[in-house]
């Protein structure tokens, strides 16, 4: 039998869709003009960027002038957090509130601020991977410059109460940023209705290519620049526009805002089939993070007695792409900070497996995956000295 190729690591990155790929192609070799120039291929390029801005703004309920294209969500997060903090500092505020299970783009931007004299409060998530709006409310003081809380977690897929947190921040007059990299396309986002001041998005998680993102900034906020340069992005973010990729991002956002409920329901049914089957077929396994407040395509398991990298290597030998939060796959000595944040002991975190689906995954693929996982786990447990099955 030919080895299949099954991609279930969509929280890591996604395949560029035909729709995005086709949309961007005319801006690579044909209309390659610099949008700041005056001849016709430049006009076409400029119009394409503005078209993408309209699509992007429509997808999240923003105004076109509130969209700033960036190179990636890490840039967006750094911009929002470091420059949002600066705004606060101008008013004598030196405190940042975040959570202890943010993406490293947020955590390390906060660490940077700490080394520059800011106080950062890392709200602890509970065992389900959630925080309550009340936790945020109680943490806010007159010194709070910025609250930054992720919309959905990248490892365990939990969805946080962002509209409620936004309402509290709005009421208290505190700037509110959310990293929506994992949530966008899976959860209905309306920045104005949900009281979000700033929001980061990445293209490559929603079927646009890698190397493009955006930051939404509410028009009332005069966010200082992170990158100083030319007049691009109304002088707020210098650098010649990555036209083709911006076009792809606009297309991706337009695509993912369509039929969100139908699409997510379909993904959820497939995900639930995996969860039910694995919990039935494999002993001593747990699902990490709330199943109720969770992205439809995400599941994160911990298998007792086995280590995550070994699981991934064996799954790969069966043609399945997934990921893990074990130390061996995190590139550090400790397992994922997210799994530790929800209270897992190290040994349980080492045995984690994240599967993240997209709308392209099929039931046939799911059937193959649920047939393969028990085989892989029992093979590793057979050679594990800590497994007494």
């Amino acid at each position: 039998m030919e080895k299949p190729f099954i991609y279930m690591d969509n929280a890591a990155t996604t395949k560029t869709s035909d729709s995005c790929f086709n949309a961007m192609l005319p801006y690579i070799q044909q209309n390659y003009g610099n949008p700041s120039s005056i001849y016709s291929i430049a006009h076409v390029a400029k119009a394409a960027v503005e078209g993408a801005r309209k699509k992007a703004s429509a997808a999240i309920g923003a105004l076109p002038e509130e969209i700033f294209f960036t190179s990636c969500a890490t840039e967006s997060d750094n911009w929002a957090i470091k420059c949002g903090a600066k705004l606060g500092l101008d008013q004598g505020k030196n405190q940042i509130i975040t959570t202890n299970f943010e993406h490293h783009a947020v955590l390390n931007a906060c660490k940077n601020l700490e080394s520059n004299g800011f106080e950062v409060i890392y709200l602890p998530v509970d065992k389900d991977g959630l925080i309550s709006p009340k936790q945020v409310e109680e943490a806010i003081t007159e010194k709070t410059a910025l609250v930054t809380v992720m919309y959905a977690n990248n490892e365990i897929g939990t969805v946080l109460p962002i509209p409620e947190i936004g309402a509290i921040c709005r009421q208290k007059g505190v700037l509110f940023h959310t990293d929506a990299v994992q949530a966008i396309g899976h959860v209905e986002i309306d920045v104005h209705k949900q009281n979000i001041d700033m929001l980061s998005i990445s293209g490559h998680k929603i079927h646009a290519p890698k190397g493009v993102g955006l930051l939404y900034v509410n028009k009332k906020i005069n966010l200082p620049n992170l990158l100083d340069g030319g007049a691009q992005e109304r002088g707020r973010r210098g650098g010649t526009e990555n036209v083709a990729y911006i076009v792809a991002l606009g297309q991706a956002l337009e695509d993912c805002a369509k039929n969100i409920e139908v699409r997510e329901k379909k993904i959820e049914i497939l995900r639930n089939k995996i969860v039910e089957s694995v919990l039935n077929e494999v002993p001593k396994v747990r699902v990490n993070g709330s199943m109720k407040h969770r992205l439809s395509g995400n599941v994160n398991f911990s298998f007792e007695g086995v280590e995550g990298e070994s699981i991934l290597l064996l799954l790969d030998s069966f043609g399945i792409c997934a990921s893990s939060g074990s130390a061996c796959t995190s590139g550090s000595l400790d397992p994922s900070h997210v799994l530790l944040a929800i209270g897992l002991p190290h040994e349980t975190a080492h045995g984690s497996l994240r599967i993240s689906l997209c709308a392209e995954n099929t039931e046939k693929e799911v059937d193959y995956v649920i047939e393969t996982i028990p085989k892989v786990i029992s093979r590793l447990r057979e050679m594990s000295p800590v497994w007494n099955g």
Partner: protein, 147 residues
């Protein structure tokens, strides 16, 4: 959450088809190193006759390279006299596997230590003090050993 590295063909072969997996019920020496907190535990079982390692089996909890180094190390000492097995170094295991990514070298250290720990147990069972022969076996919290 990423795959940190690429493994050599030999590492993948020993991971996918590990040699000498299992336990020896009437083992003459058993050694275990590493701990679950670090994500690596290796357990080695020895059968020794006339100073020769007649049989060796392992059980390992850990990443791809932990399993591959266990497998390779057992292969390298099986059928050899104890005097040779004692000399097995982690560097030799790494070389036999055509190299390991730098962050995975500690797995080969564990493999070397697991064999020494099993030999240590063998000597103790014989009523012989292993330390003059094997030196001191470092404490088991060795997951943080690099290079």
């Amino acid at each position: 959450m990423k795959m940190a590295m690429e493994y050599s063909k030999k590492v993948m072969d020993h991971f996918m088809n590990p040699r000498n997996v299992g336990e020896i019920e009437d083992a003459d020496g058993v050694g275990e190193v590493g701990n679950a907190k670090c994500g690596d535990i290796m357990k080695m079982f020895l059968k020794i006759e006339n100073g020769i390692i007649k049989d060796i089996k392992f059980k390992t909890f850990g990443c791809g390279s932990a399993i591959a180094t266990s497998s390779m190390a057992t292969e390298m000492v099986k059928g050899k006299p104890i005097s040779e097995a004692i000399k097995l170094t982690n560097a030799a295991v790494v070389e036999a596997l055509d190299g390991l990514p730098k962050v995975k070298v500690h797995c080969s250290v564990l493999a070397e230590q697991a064999i020494k720990a099993a030999l240590c147990d063998y000597y103790r069972r014989q009523g012989v003090d292993p330390e003059p022969i094997l030196g001191k076996i470092p404490p088991v919290e060795s997951c943080h050993i690099h290079d």
